[in-house]
């Protein structure tokens, strides 16, 4: 689709969406939506001429017309489907969205302790919750790029998770965004807003998955605010259809002494892009961002992270690993900013990639920008293949070549998987990865 054409199709979709809002268009939020769609109409999707999108050509997204989903339809979604895509059974509180709409039938939040709220964004908006309205978009600006503009324009549904001050939640909360592709490609715009109060504790799992293979477009925004001394553990699994497009933006803001740690596993998507920005705004924060990418076929998986040390005495760790097979492409861009005055910063970033095939490509750019002198910042990046000596060691002990390759590839991935916080979820991912690694290759079918 030509440039103007794809923009027109989203604007047409916005008009349909507007009509389905049933008079809600008088609310102040709707002005924000209109502004966002106008913004999208003027900027469109980023192109490879933008430094941040240099290696990720999103033209294929522009080539397909994606219609917005206007109502909930839970047909075809079963408990089995949920189990298959890595929802940890039994243990967590769970919120399920189908094509971007809250599913009452699969969500369960019985037994939530006092001081913890899981609410659908639609209902929070319906009662014009001032707190929610003020926090929405406080970390991710609608104008940041075409994708965040679209997400804001089509803002309607999502999960609002609030943990009050000094409340400790022992069981994780899992948010599952399921897509059910149909003949007509659709776009959904998931939104998650997490507020962890002062000295609270929360474990959050985000899952993005599909019921079956197909073409669709997920444009997600997650905002996480940590109060003083809050601890948030975040696990993320992206296992979309390999024909789908997944663009996700997550922004985190940390107040003094808070701790945010995230493990993101990306397996699906024809084009998948994760942008993670963490602002360490108060002294003594700790931030950990880990990621694992497995890509095969013609997949393109892109991880962009920014850790912004805006206050002194903060620590950050980053470990991103990629295993690339087939004709896939991996992109990593990790920025660490140390602002003037952010003394005693300790930042460490590591990026490791294994290329399994001759046609796989990696573009990596670890980037440091430092404006303070009393800091310790390091980054390291390696690109290579499985170690021949390790392979030899295993084969000398009677392990077949393919199995040895599997073992080593799995061990490489396990480095990240083993860091996943929620135990049942970790075990499930473990099994999922073992199934994906076959004969030293990454199996394309999930």
């Amino acid at each position: 689709m030509e440039d103007q054409q794809y923009r027109g199709s989203y604007i047409a979709g916005f008009e349909l969406f507007e009509k389905s809002l049933n008079g809600e268009s008088a609310s102040p939020l709707h002005a924000v939506r209109r502004e966002a769609i106008a913004r999208f109409a003027s900027v469109g999707f980023p192109t490879v001429r933008h430094e941040e999108w240099r290696f990720t050509n999103v033209a294929p997204i522009a080539r397909t017309a994606f219609a917005p989903v206007l109502r909930y339809d839970g047909a075809g979604v079963t408990r089995q489907v949920l189990n298959r895509v890595g929802s940890a059974d039994g243990d967590p509180f769970m919120v399920v969205f189908v094509n971007g709409f809250w599913s009452e039938e699969f969500s369960r939040s019985a037994g939530l302790p006092a001081g913890v709220r899981i609410e659908s964004l639609a209902s929070a908006l319906a009662r014009r919750d001032e707190v929610v309205l003020s926090r929405l978009g406080s970390l991710v600006a609608a104008g940041e790029n075409g994708f965040t503009a679209l997400n804001t324009a089509f803002l309607r549904e999502g999960a609002v998770i609030t943990v009050e001050d000094r409340v400790i939640l022992e069981r994780p909360i899992q948010v599952v965004f399921l897509s059910r592709p149909s003949a007509e490609p659709h776009a959904s715009y998931p939104r998650v807003l997490v507020t962890a109060g002062r000295e609270s504790r929360l474990s959050l799992i985000e899952t993005y998955a599909s019921v079956s293979e197909g073409v669709y477009f997920d444009d997600a925004v997650t905002e996480v605010v940590l109060g003083e001394g809050a601890v948030v553990e975040h696990d993320r699994l992206q296992i979309e259809s390999t024909q789908a497009f997944h663009i996700a933006t997550m922004a985190v803001r940390q107040e003094r002494g808070s701790n945010f740690s995230s493990n993101a596993v990306s397996l699906g998507g024809a084009i998948a892009r994760n942008t993670v920005t963490a602002v360490l705004a108060g002294e003594g924060c700790e931030c950990t961002l880990n990621g694992l990418t497995l890509a095969a076929g013609t997949q393109l998986i892109d991880n962009h992270t920014v850790i912004d040390h805006a206050a002194p005495h903060c620590t950050s760790h980053e470990l991103y690993k990629s295993i690339l097979d087939g004709k896939s492409r991996g992109v990593f861009n990790g920025k660490i900013f140390v602002r003037a005055g952010a003394q005693k910063t300790d930042a460490k970033q590591t990026n490791k990639t294994i290329l399994l095939s001759a046609d796989a490509t990696i573009n990596t750019k670890p980037q440091l920008e430092i404006f303070a002198d009393d800091v310790k910042c390091t980054h390291g990046a390696t690109v290579g293949q499985l170690n021949e000596e390790q392979l030899f060691y295993l084969r000398a002990r009677g392990i077949g070549e393919e199995e040895a390759r599997d073992m080593l590839t799995f061990a490489f991935a396990a480095d990240v998987v083993s860091r996943i916080h929620a135990a049942p979820f970790r075990d499930q991912l473990d099994r999922l990865l073992r199934a994906r690694l076959q004969a030293g290759r990454i199996a394309t079918e999930s």
């Binding site: 430094e51 003037a340 005055g341 003394q343 990639t353 290329l355 399994l356 095939s357 001759a358 796989a360 490509t361 990696i362 573009n363 990596t364 750019k365 670890p366 980037q367 440091l368 920008e369 430092i370 404006f371 303070a372 002198d373 009393d374 800091v375 310790k376 910042c377 390091t378 980054h379 390291g380 990046a381 390696t382 690109v383 290579g384 293949q385």
Partner: protein, 481 residues
């Protein structure tokens, strides 16, 4: 603390010692850039038509280009019509020997510590001295001629060895490569040309000394070095400029070509005028340097010590085309006061079993901003390519910045690429340790900074290593409080 503070101030106030101006009559062209000016330059140099055509083609392409804005440096817009593109010391004929060179010029070089005569007799380094736009003297020519080594000014090469120049000029950095390379291709005035015939190991270091003297001129020189099969050459480059409170543009192009089994070692000690403490004046050093390992087993290494210039913006790179070729980049970049540097390298691995090493040391002090920007690219057919990169930054003071932008693009699974970067400051414990052993704060910092840069300095030829260490001392010592 206070003595250290004093040391800093004392050193920060230290004057740029090469800031004098030589009063010498100059032959210049009017300010501004047009086809007319290019024709005049070409005519003054008595160039053949193909050379003029080449310039004009580059100029026409330059007109279609826009100045890039992506680097991590800030400077006011350059008015290209306000620059004088040609300035030469007035003398009727090019001197045949040093005796015929204008004594004023020789004195200038003496003041810079580059005594052409002395070097000729004692040091055994062949020097090509470039003053503003033209080369004024080249020493040791006869001796080099015996071996078939050609080392002369670029203008002379265009006249005497047109075939060689035509064959290689623009083959590594095409005139259309980038904005400043196009500008240079259109207006370049002189530079050095160096050709090492097959199997010859150049018996002495070749050196070019660049000096900007005239005001409001830009310096656009071009260096072309060709090492034939099995040849070896070590080449040094030094630069200074007078203190002026307007900025001057230096946009040079350096091309290196190494054929089978050849080796080129290129060292730079760049000490253009950095501007004063408030960042007034100084040279904009926007240079395109690139080497091509065209042959198998060839090797190119860049070593640079960048202490001068208001802004340094360059990425000496190596195209590793021949199988088993090796590229190396060793750099120390210092930014003090308001200096800015955006420098690094590009290693383009195309051939099989190619290897590259990058060691970059950035030192920021005062309000300086230092960026490392590099690219390691491994092409689809570059089997077993190997790269190791290390970028360390040292921060002296809390107003400066250090940045790293390494790009790594790998398209071959057999490649092994490693990148490491670290940022740190001189620890108080380190200084304490040295002081305890009787070293002054200043000596302690000097010792630590030199230790930090040692990996790069040991790649420099002896004479240069000494100069580089001294320069670093002048630029930095004691900047830690």
């Amino acid at each position: 603390m206070s003595t250290e503070q004093n040391t800093i101030e004392e050193l920060a106030n230290r004057e740029y010692k090469y800031g004098f101006v030589t009063d010498i009559e100059a032959d210049t062209v009017p300010k501004g850039l047009s086809e007319e000016v290019i024709r005049t330059i070409s005519m003054k140099k008595g160039e053949p038509t193909w050379m003029l055509e080449w310039r004009l083609k580059a100029f026409r392409h330059w007109l279609t280009m826009t100045e890039p804005g992506w680097p991590n440096v800030k400077y006011p817009k350059i008015d290209y019509q306000d620059i004088r593109y040609y300035s030469a010391p007035k003398s009727t004929n090019r001197p045949k020997s040093l005796e015929e060179v204008d004594p004023e010029l020789l004195r200038t070089y003496q003041k810079l510590g580059i005594s052409l005569e002395e070097q000729m007799h004692l040091a055994g380094v062949a020097v090509d001295a470039v003053f503003d736009s033209v080369s004024v003297a080249t020493t040791f020519k006869e001796k080099l001629n015996e071996l078939g080594v050609i080392f002369c000014s670029f203008s002379e090469a265009v006249r005497e060895h047109p075939d060689l120049v035509r064959k290689y000029l623009g083959s590594v950095v095409p005139p259309t490569d980038n904005y400043f390379a196009a500008l240079n291709s259109a207006v370049f005035t002189d530079g050095s040309f160096c050709f090492i015939p097959p199997g010859v190991r150049c018996p002495m270091e070749l050196s070019t000394y660049f000096r900007i003297n005239a005001a409001e001129t830009g310096q656009f020189e071009r260096t072309l070095i060709v090492a034939e099969e099995g040849a070896y050459v070590s080449y040094l480059e030094g630069c200074t400029a007078p203190m002026r409170d307007t900025n001057q543009l230096h946009a040079a192009v350096v091309e290196l070509i190494a054929l089978d089994d050849a080796r080129i070692k290129y060292s730079t000690v760049q000490n253009w005028y950095p501007g004063d403490k408030e960042g007034k004046g100084g040279i904009y050093n926007f240079v395109t340097k690139r080497g091509k390992c065209a042959g198998v087993n060839s090797r190119i290494s860049w070593t640079q010590v960048e202490t001068g210039s208001a802004i340094t913006w360059k990425y000496p790179g190596v195209i590793l085309q021949g199988d088993n070729s090796v590229g190396e980049f060793y750099s120390v970049a210092v930014t003090n006061n308001r200096q800015q540097a955006d420098t690094g390298t590009k290693m383009i691995h195309l051939g099989k079993n190619t290897r590259s090493t990058i060691v970059s040391k950035g030192i920021s002090a005062g309000h300086g901003n230092n960026s490392y920007r590099g690219l390691v690219s491994v092409g689809r057919n570059a089997e077993n390519a190997r790269n190791f990169s290390q970028c360390d930054s040292l921060l002296l003071g809390d107003q400066c910045g250090a940045h790293t932008f390494p790009y790594i693009d790998v398209r071959n699974p057999s490649a092994r690429v490693e990148h490491e970067a670290s940022t740190s400051k001189i620890g108080e414990d380190q200084i304490f340790y040295c002081k305890q052993r009787g070293l002054s704060a200043e000596d302690a910092v000097n010792l630590i900074v030199n230790g930090f840069c040692k990996e790069v300095f040991r790649e420099l030829p002896m004479e240069f290593a000494v100069e580089a260490q001294k320069l670093l001392g002048v630029s930095l010592e004691g900047s830690v409080g």
